[in-house]
């Protein structure tokens, strides 16, 4: 069974994809930092959103900066999720995924997903607060029931792996 898992092309592809995503995530973090401290100054934002002279201008700029700061918090959370998933893929490749460490990894991933969902909700609320019919701001924060279902599924999967690891331990000690 382990040889089937280790010979599956899905695993090397997943491994490569996850490594790329980890790199892209950090590059995304650098881009957000540039966005926060570099390129767009207040005037640039106001002209891009056609808000120059608007009474809402300061509120919008503040909200966008807060959103970018929160976006920065997303980076380490994404990294936690991706690195744990990569470690799980490695254990599948090694032919021994039902280990207690994977249950712990899945639980960590689930908590990271909870934090990401909450962050998405906060960002959505900030955007909604400053968006007006005259100057609508549309940002996809990904706040959907699917996200919360994925969180639930990951917590359940962590439990399944914990039980699986326990059964595996028992089986290994059975003569």
């Amino acid at each position: 069974m382990s040889s089937t898992a280790s010979s599956s092309p899905a695993l090397p592809i997943a491994r490569l994809l996850l490594r790329i995503l980890i790199l892209v995530n950090w590059l995304w973090g650098v881009a957000i930092l540039v966005l926060l401290f570099g390129v767009p100054n207040r005037d640039w934002i106001l002209s891009a959103l056609k808000l120059a002279g608007s009474p809402d201008a300061d509120r919008v700029v503040m909200a966008l900066r807060a959103t970018v700061v929160l976006g920065l918090v997303v980076i380490p959370l994404n990294n936690i999720f991706l690195t744990r998933l990569l470690a799980i893929v490695d254990t599948v490749r090694a032919g021994d995924p039902f280990v207690a460490a994977n249950a712990k990894r899945l639980q960590t991933m689930a908590w990271a997903m909870v934090a990401l969902q909450v962050l998405g909700m906060v960002i959505g609320a900030i955007i909604k607060a400053v968006s007006t019919p005259a100057h609508p701001i549309n940002v996809d924060t990904g706040g959907s029931i699917n996200g919360w279902l994925a969180v639930l599924l990951t917590f359940l999967l962590a439990r399944v792996f914990a039980e699986g690891a326990h059964m595996r331990e028992d089986l290994q000690g059975t003569v």
Binding site: E169, D170, Q172, G173, T174, V175
Partner: protein, 76 residues
């Protein structure tokens, strides 16, 4: 663990080595060693049956229950 494996004593009584037993019941020496040293977490009925058959004994001759802490109390 409160369950104690008496395989070593039984083998000694029968003048049989672990390797011989391993050959007779078709079980690996490594697994038998795990059982003998009390490191096993569980034993299959089929294993128990094979050992009882090979050593002409009852399961109770191989496994005994000794409540934990009894030995410690006798030292205090």
């Amino acid at each position: 663990m409160a369950i104690v494996v008496k395989l070593d004593d039984l083998l000694h009584e029968r003048r049989m080595t672990l390797t011989e037993l391993s050959g007779r019941i078709g079980m690996t020496l490594a697994n038998l060693s795990i059982l003998k040293t009390g490191k096993a977490r569980a034993i299959r009925f089929s294993t128990l049956e094979a050992i009882c058959d090979a050593l002409s004994c009852q399961p109770g001759d191989i496994l005994t229950f000794e409540p934990e802490g009894v030995g410690e109390e006798s030292f205090t």
